[in-house]
Symmetry: C2
DNA sequence: ATCTTATATAAGAATAATTCTAATTTAATA
DNA sequence: TATTAAATTAGAATTATTCTTATATAAGAT
């Protein structure tokens, strides 16, 4: 696991620091779309002196390199997602709960769409799909 | 036009006030996904004493009633959209530019999807699609 | 193993979008 | 016209995030 993150950092030309390892571990272990505050709280248990700014910096760096994904929904702060394979999000505006959702039909539609559809003056890079609704408890 | 907004407010059980009329006019006239600051600047030209809090309140109220839509993308403040028919957004992470995009194929896919797909413990209310890429100048 | 240097981190101040508060005003209805 | 619930104002408060500057450290070169 630690070997893994070292490798990822190296591949991306980033120095291996304890802070970056901690942030990476936090995101992969927390799984449920934590925000910066969640991540900071988690890390501080083992690493009480990490600076808030460092966590924000690290999250930005990771997002720029594509190591994690940033996600913002209406009416909530930035959240982060360490899952690497194509997936979608279910979320409820009321509860702010977010769950991952995998769906092959959507995958296919999107792949087709990106391949076929031409939009004047615009190059499609990605299509993001959010499914809004209500969780039943 | 003013008759129109009066009617909308009445239908939604909202008092008709000059501030609400001004906010509504701003959104419909500005068309390109303004944020609160844009809207405030626009309104202040004709109505210099409107309170910022009032504009935020009004936008929230309108969004709750479904009169307008709120939209937030990663790395940008909240924006507002007065367009009433189903559409999608093209946007570029770099430029923060957002354009409306209409696509019947996506409409159909979404309608089908909502009708057919059952997700355990979740009731689908809406599906939002964002097309990410680059504008060619 | 040590030196060098570009890069990363810490700590806290600064920023800026949004929300809150409490007093005042106003739209709608009787 | 009087009543009252709802809306507005003005500015303070909040809070997520960014910025600043001094210090520390990882990685490669010696």
């Amino acid at each position: 696991m630690i070997k893994n993150i070292r490798q990822i950092l190296n591949e991306n030309g980033l120095k291996v620091t304890p802070q970056r390892i901690a942030v990476y571990e936090a995101i992969t272990k927390m799984s449920n779309h934590p925000n910066a505050e969640n991540i900071i709280d988690y890390i501080k248990k083992k690493y009480p002196n990490i600076a808030i700014g460092t966590v924000y910096n690290t999250l930005d760096t990771f997002a720029e390199k594509g190591i994690i994904t940033r996600m913002k929904t209406n009416g909530d702060v930035m959240r982060y997602d360490g899952v690497k394979h194509r997936h979608y999000h279910l979320y409820s505006a009321d509860s702010k709960r977010i769950e991952d959702y995998y769906d092959e039909e959507i995958n296919q539609f999107i792949s087709e769409f990106i391949r076929k559809r031409k939009i004047p003056n615009f190059t499609i890079e990605d299509v993001s799909v959010q499914i809004i609704g209500k969780f039943e408890k």
